[in-house]
Amino acid sequence: MTSAEVVVEPSEELPIARVSGEIDMANAAEVAAQLGAAVSNAAHGLVVDLGAVGYVDSAGLRGLLDLGVRLRRRGQRLVAVLPVESPLRRVLEVVQMDRVADVCATEEDARARMA
C-alpha cells in the first residue's frame, strides 16, 4: 500500500505542508484533501515541500494541479518546493506545473517569493 505523510506547519499567512513518502492513485485523493485543508481563506497561499517525496504519479500530480487551480481562483498561490537535483523536477515540467504554481528549490526561496 502506498503511503505518504503530510505534516503542516500552520500559519495564518503562509502555512507550509511537508510531504514525504510516495503518492500514486491509491493515496493521491487523500494527500490532496490534506493539502487543501491546510489553507485557510486568510492565507496568502500554501507552500508544499515535496523534497522528501520519492514518487509521485499522474494522479498525485493531478491533485497538485487541481489544488493550484483552486487556490488561484481564490487569489491564493501554490508554491512547490523541490531540490534542483530531484528527478521529480522533470516530471513537474512535463505536466507544466508552473502554469498553476511556483516551483522553488528551498523553503526559504518559497517564503521570499511570497513576501
Binding site: 500514486d24 492513485m25 504519479d57
Partner: protein, 656 residues
C-alpha cells in the same frame, strides 16, 4: 751400589738408538692413547723393565689417570683414577717433579709403607720419572724391575732423557684432544644454531633440536613447554630406562622461563648441553616475539583492508589479501573499491614498500587518502599527484606503488594511472589476456612535484580487470616478465570463471616459493542481460507500491542510475495505473509486468487481459504524456486479448 750383573742397561749407542726410535714413534702418535701406548712400551723396552705405568695429571690438577703396560688398552686410559696425594711412587714423582728411585723392596716399604699389601713376592726395584713440560710435571712414568737395582746418575739421566720427548708428546696430544673436543663442540653448536634458525615456529624448532641431540649427544631427549601443571611435552626422541634421572636444563631467555629440556645418557660436556639449551631458548623466544609482531601486523593489516566490498550494480568485483606464505613478512598491500558519482566505480591496488607494523600503518593512511581524493572526484592522475604531494609533505617517507582506476559502466571506459605498480591485466571474455602498459609513472613518496600519467581503455562487458601486487608475479631466480607471462597464461585458462573463482585460481598460480604477501582484485562489468523481471499483479491500486518496490530493486541490479530508476518506475507506474483504472472490477482481474535488458536498453511490458470499460485514449490525466517524456519509446498495442504497453529506455543515455 753394584751393577747388579743380571741387568743390562743400554750402552750409549743403544741409548741413542732407543731415543731416536722413541722420538720417531711419538711423532706418529697423535692421540693421547697412542702416545701413552708408545711411552709405556718404549720405556719398558729401553730400560729392560718388567712392567710400566703411566700417570697423567688430570686438568683438574688433583687426579691422576693411570695406564698400565700389562693391561694397556686404549679404552682403559683414565679408567683408573687416583688422587694426586696418594702415596705411590708415580704420584710422588708428579708431586715433587723429581725422579723417585727405589733400589729394593726395603726402600719401597720404607718410603711407601701403604704398598706393603701389593708387594707380596716382590723383590725387585722401582723408579718413577716425572714428565715435565714448562717446569711443571704433567704426569710420570713408572717402571718396575724384577731385581734390586742401583740407579746411577748416568742411568737417571737416560731415564730423564726418555721423559722429555714423552712429556712433550703427551702435552701435544692433550692439546690436540682439547682442541678436537672444542672443535666438535663448536661444530655441533654451529649445526644447532643453523637448525634453530631454520624455523620460526617454536614447536617445530624444538622437534628439530631433539633430533639433533639424539643420537649425537645423548640417548634420550625430551622438551617440555610451560611449567608445572601447564607443562606440555612438545618433542621426545630416543629411549631411556630412567627418564626421572635425566639431566634437566631450563629453557630461559630474556628472564622468562619457557620450559625445560631433559637429557638422558648424555655423552657431551655439560657446558655443551647448557650452551645448546641457552641457544634453543633464545631461538624459541625469538620465534615467540616474531609471531607476536607478525600477528599484530597481520591483524592491523586486515583491519585496515575493507571488511567487505560494496555491492555495486552491474559489476562483479572481489578481492583478497594473503600474507606471505612462509609467514616471513606481512606487508602494506591493500585494495579498495568504492562507488563514485554518476554510477562510476573507483578501484585501487597498492603496496607500501617495507614490511611489518609500520608498513601496515602506512597502508592505512594511504588507503584513506586515496579514498578522500577519489571521492572529491579527481581524475586518477590527479589523485596520485595529490597523494604524492601529501606523502612528501607529511615526511612519512613511505614509498608506495599503486594504481587508481575509475570505471564508467555507461561508456565502458576504464581510466587509470599507475605509480610504479605492475601493469593491470585485462582478460577478454574469449580468454585473450593483455597488460595495460600505459599511464605509468614513478612510485609515490619518491620525487616531489612530479606529474602522473593517465591512460584510458575500454573494458567491454564480460572482460575482467585484474589488479595485483608484485607478490603474485615475483618468483625468486626469475624475471618479472616471466612472472607476468605466467599470470597472463593462468588468467587466460579460465576466462569463464566468475571473479572470485578467477581470483582463487590466480592465487593458486602464485609462485610456489613466494614469501611476499599478495593482494588481488578482480573486476568485471557485467553484460546487460540480467534475469528477466516478471510480476503478476492484481488490478488494485494498493498493489502498485509493491510492484514498484520490486521493479526498483531489479533496475538497480541492472545498473540503472537513480534518475533512470525513477523515470522507468514512473512510466511503468502510469501504465499500471491505466490498467487498474480501466479494468472492469478489481475483484479478480490481474495484469503482468515484465522487464528485461536488451543490450543497454531496458524494456518494460505491461500486459492486461481484462476487459475495458472504455477504450484507451480517453484518459483525462497526464499518464501517457509522462511515459512519452520519460521513455525513449512507448508503444501501446491493443488487441482482442487485452492491451500491451511496451516502454523502452536506454540506460546511460541521459545522465545528469
Amino acid at each position: 751400589m753394584t751393577d747388579g750383573g743380571d741387568l743390562a742397561w743400554p750402552q750409549p749407542a743403544a741409548r741413542l738408538r732407543a731415543l731416536t726410535a722413541l722420538t720417531a714413534a711419538l711423532a706418529d702418535a697423535l692421540t693421547l692413547v697412542d702416545v701413552g701406548e708408545v711411552v709405556v712400551g718404549a720405556t719398558v723396552t729401553a730400560l729392560g723393565a718388567e712392567a710400566g705405568t703411566l700417570a697423567l695429571l688430570d686438568p683438574d690438577g688433583e687426579t691422576l689417570l693411570i695406564a698400565r703396560a700389562s693391561t694397556f688398552d686404549a679404552a682403559v686410559f683414565g679408567a683408573e683414577r687416583i688422587p694426586l696425594d696418594t702415596p705411590t711412587p708415580t704420584a710422588e714423582a708428579v708431586r715433587s717433579n723429581r725422579p723417585v728411585l727405589l733400589p729394593d723392596r726395603e726402600t719401597v716399604l720404607e718410603r711407601f709403607p701403604g704398598l706393603a699389601g701389593r708387594l707380596v713376592g716382590f723383590h725387585g726395584s722401582r723408579a718413577a720419572i716425572p714428565l715435565e713440560v714448562g717446569g711443571r710435571a704433567i704426569g710420570a712414568y713408572g717402571l718396575t724391575f724384577s731385581a734390586p737395582r742401583d740407579f746411577s746418575a748416568d742411568e737417571v739421566d737416560f731415564m730423564l732423557a726418555l721423559a722429555r720427548p714423552c712429556a712433550q708428546a703427551l702435552e701435544r696430544a692433550r692439546l690436540f684432544a682439547a682442541e678436537r673436543t672444542m672443535q666438535l663442540r663448536l661444530a655441533f653448536l654451529a649445526e644447532a644454531s643453523r637448525v634453530l634458525a631454520e624455523s620460526l615456529d617454536g614447536e617445530e624448532l624444538l622437534r628439530r633440536l631433539t633430533t639433533l641431540v639424539v643420537p649425537q649427544l645423548a640417548d634420550w631427549c625430551a622438551v617440555d613447554l610451560g611449567e608445572g601443571e601447564a607443562a606440555r611435552r612438545v618433542a621426545e626422541v630416543g629411549e631411556t630406562d630412567d627418564p626421572d634421572g635425566a639431566v634437566v636444563l631450563a629453557l630461559s631467555a630474556r628472564h622468562r622461563r619457557l620450559g625445560a629440556m631433559r637429557i638422558a645418557g648424555a655423552r657431551a660436556h655439560r657446558a655443551t648441553v647448557e650452551e645448546l639449551a641457552r641457544r634453543a631458548a633464545l631461538a624459541l623466544d625469538n620465534a615467540r616475539l616474531y609471531r607476536q609482531e607478525h600477528e599484530a601486523a597481520e591483524t592491523l593489516q586486515r583491519s585496515l583492508l575493507p571488511s567487505h566490498l560494496p555491492d555495486l550494480p552491474g559489476v562483479e568485483v572481489c578481492a583478497a589479501y594473503q600474507p606471505g606464505s612462509t609467514a616471513l613478512e606481512v606487508g602494506g598491500d591493500w585494495y579498495d573499491v568504492f562507488p563514485l558519482p554518476g554510477g562510476r566505480v573507483g578501484l585501487v591496488i597498492g603496496d607500501v614498500v617495507g614490511r611489518g607494523l609500520r608498513a601496515a600503518a602506512a597502508m592505512g593512511q594511504l588507503r584513506s587518502a586515496v579514498r578522500a581524493y577519489a571521492l572529491e572526484d579527481w581524475a586518477p592522475a590527479a589523485v596520485l599527484e595529490h597523494l604524492n604531494a601529501l606523502t612528501k609533505a607529511t615526511d612519512q617517507g613511505d614509498m608506495a606503488t599503486l594504481i587508481y582506476a575509475t570505471f564508467d559502466p555507461y561508456s565502458a571506459e576504464l581510466r587509470f594511472a599507475s605509480a610504479g605498480h605492475p601493469p593491470p591485466l585485462v582478460v577478454a571474455p574469449d580468454g585473450t589476456a593483455r597488460f595495460l602498459e600505459g599511464g605509468r609513472s614513478v612510485p609515490t613518496g619518491v620525487v616531489s612535484d612530479t606529474g602522473y600519467e593517465e591512460a584510458t581503455t575500454t573494458l567491454e562487458p564480460g572482460a575482467t580487470l585484474v589488479l595485483y601486487t608484485d607478490g603474485l608475479i615475483e618468483r625468486r631466480g626469475s624475471t618479472l616478465d616471466a612472472g607476468m607471462e605466467t599470470l597472463a597464461r593462468a588468467a587466460a585458462e579460465v576466462p569463464s570463471l566468475d571473479t572470485s573463482a578467477l581470483r582463487d585460481h590466480l592465487l593458486r598460480h602464485q609462485p610456489p616459493n613466494a614469501e611476499d604477501d599478495v593482494a588481488v582484485l578482480a573486476f568485471r562489468p557485467l553484460a546487460r542481460t540480467g534475469p528477466e523481471f516478471a510480476a503478476d499483479v492484481p488490478a488494485d491500486p494498493t498493489e502498485l507500491a509493491g510492484v514498484r518496490h520490486r521493479l526498483r530493486h531489479w533496475l538497480e541490479e541492472a545498473g540503472a542510475t537513480p534518475d533512470e530508476v525513477h523515470d522507468v518506475l514512473l512510466a511503468c507506474g502510469e501504465a499500471c495505473a491505466n490498467v487498474v483504472e480501466h479494468a472492469y472490477g478489481p475483484a479478480d482481474a490481474s495484469f503482468v509486468v515484465s522487464a528485461r535488458l536488451e543490450g543497454d536498453t531496458v524494456e518494460v511490458d505491461v500486459r492486461d487481459t481484462g476487459r475495458w470499460r472504455a477504450p484507451r485514449g480517453s484518459e483525462r490525466g497526464h499518464g501517457l504524456g509522462l511515459m512519452r517524456a520519460l521513455m525513449d519509446d512507448v508503444a501501446v498495442t491493443p488487441s482482442e486479448e487485452g492491451t500491451e504497453v511496451r516502454l523502452r529506455r536506454r540506460l546511460g543515455g541521459v545522465r545528469v
